[in-house]
């Protein structure tokens, strides 16, 4: 009955499909995580839109919270640990989802862009200091390292820029992720003129140089949308 109903409707094309990968895209804005017992995943709190199977979630364990440091010191944990057998669907307000497979690599992700990560990955958090703090970014950088999957969000279709060919300057509000090992510095393009209220709107950029790349989103909005919703 349901199958008949679906077959005739336009929704048929959107059936859930098992891709066999640990993390895969369902459309552009939804991440499907295939969970099995013993292979837990940490997902952004509030990002679950659906799940299928025997899944349970709890705040990240105390030991991991220590690694997250200040980020997790608030009244709610920024990440939830999902365990069980089944499929978990994650999304963040329609943002594009990128599923990345790390092969003994490490990647720095703007905290508000981290959607999910394998629990086996190492994770360190540092509070953004200095000028970048003024830029109003997600305040926390999460460095994920090891071998496994990580899912990040981007508002709009991103671009990956190679920093080896030329030093790359990125608006901090548009920064999604970057490979570690890059030389990062801030560059100010503030002019005397802008001190009297005539700025170009581009006061400060982060400069990246070295062998690696940065992921840049086509939007200057990195506000953590779940914070608004509470």
């Amino acid at each position: 009955m349901e199958a008949q109903f679906l077959a005739g409707s336009g929704l048929d094309a959107y059936r859930a499909a098992d891709t066999g990968a640990r993390m895969s895209n369902h459309g552009t804005a939804m991440c499907r995580v295939a969970l099995t017992a013993g292979a837990d995943v940490y997902a952004k709190a509030g990002a679950m839109v659906a799940y299928d199977g025997f899944l349970q979630y709890e705040p990240v364990p105390q030991s991991f919270r220590r690694a997250l440091g200040e980020w997790a010191s608030g009244e709610r944990s920024p990440l939830l640990q999902w365990t069980g057998d089944g499929a978990l669907y994650l999304a963040d307000m329609g943002a594009d989802v990128l599923n990345l497979q790390l092969a003994d690599e490490s990647l720095s992700v703007n905290g508000s862009h981290l959607l999910a990560m394998d629990a086996t990955l190492g994770c360190t958090v540092e509070k953004v200091r200095g000028a970048a703090l003024l830029a109003g970014t997600g305040l926390y950088n999460v460095t994920v390292s090891g071998t496994g999957w990580v899912s990040v969000t981007s508002r709009g279709v991103p671009v990956v820029l190679d920093c080896a060919e030329a030093e790359t300057y990125v608006d901090p509000d548009a920064l999604v992720a970057w490979t570690t090992g890059l030389e990062v510095r801030t560059r100010r393009t503030v002019k005397v003129g802008s001190l009297i209220g005539r700025g170009s709107g581009e006061a400060m950029q982060l400069g990246f140089r070295g062998s690696g790349f940065v992921v840049v989103q086509p939007s200057e909005d990195t506000a953590d949308r779940f914070k608004i919703r509470g």
């Binding site: 092969a103 990647l107 709009g156 279709v157 060919e165 990125v170 170009s200 086509p218 939007s219």
Partner: protein, 473 residues
Amino acid sequence: MSRELAKASRVRISELTASTELYLGVHIAAPGLTFDISCFGLDADERLSDDRYFVFFNQPASPEQSIRLLGAQEGDSEAFAVVLPAVPDAVHKLALTATIDGDGQMSQVAAGHVRIVAGGTEVGRYSFTGAEFSTERAVMLADVYRRGGEWRFAAVGQGFDGGLRALLENFGGEVLDEEQPAPEAALAPVPQQAAAPRPVAAPAAPPVQQPYPDATLPAVPVPPAVPAQQPYPDATLLAVPVPPAAPAPGAAPAGVRISLTKYTELPESPGWVKQNDHLVRISLTKGQDILALQGSMVAYQGKADFAHEGSGMLRKLVGNLTGQQLKLMRITGEGQVFLADEACDLHVVRLEGDSFCVGSDRVLAFEAGLEHEVRRIEGEGLPHGGFFTLQFSGHGTVVVKTNGIPVVLPVTPAPETYVDVQALVAWSRGSQVITTAPVRIRRSAYAGHAAESYSLQFRGAPGNFVVVQPFEV
């Protein structure tokens, strides 16, 4: 509606038709001659780097069916169906050619044409006669090519001395000896020839096997040998894509770089390039400044400088009206700048002597050399009593942003087009905007409709248009 295109003329296909599904008809009237008409899908270097995009009688379609040979049609001796958006990015030019099969020369041609048909109506035609040629045995008729993100049509009409083989060598690049084009041509028909007879052979095999026992025993192993040989070419063909596919799902993790392949930067090219739907890349050159919305830069490489732009002509805009400000910055220097705004869909519009108006809040960037003028559309009942538009004219590029995929509506004199002022993006200058009271048709269109909505009326000569986005700001 059909436009006559002279030899060597070039035209944007969007000027001829809004459709991107084209029918290209070729007709050559030459008593006693037969022609092979083919379409070469060439790369940026005008080379046939992928011979699957050589569409001709033995290979009637490209792999994703974006270019298809239709055969003789009414009025055309050969025709192609081309779906432009489906043509892979690597293919930059579709070259239509005709070569004489057998003896003869192009001067024997009585008359011929290449015509573009979209949606059942002919929109463009390039006609030629044999008098334009002499002893050539082939002719490059016309090109459909990419230029700055748009498809254009060029009426070429260039004779070529050699035949089909020489044409192949001309486009093939690496093809040095004459044998190589032949395997290329020979390889292509294999899938079809193999595909066609195989279903025939399969049903044929069982009845053939039945009579065999009556005949001699040695004949029995022969039939299995024949189908066994047939799958082999197929298997070897399949084997080619398998090796690259095999490592991908393999056990070794792919790595971040590979996961992100589809988002890599486009190869370097001058000018304004759409990196993806939401990002535009501008390669800066000295002396060609860019005016862009303040804060729209997301990344850059090289030496770029961003300065406040507060010229007098925009003072009106930055004026006293709230919510109507267009704050611009001037980008100078050298390097590559990526512009975006709130993940809006971006559209790179190239003006070549045309003129059009864009709502001031829908402009992302434009070349400083472009003539631009601030206009105010006023009307009773409009929010804030009116709104600002920028009118661009001259030669240059404008980037327009829309929320969602817009629709381009034709504007005609008789039935007027009505557009919600909040969904309006841009219109051609020839469209007349009417803001008189009777067009206020959507006020309180539904219950609880607090905000006033206001429709603008557009009227103009055929050929004008208005762009509307699926989003009411």
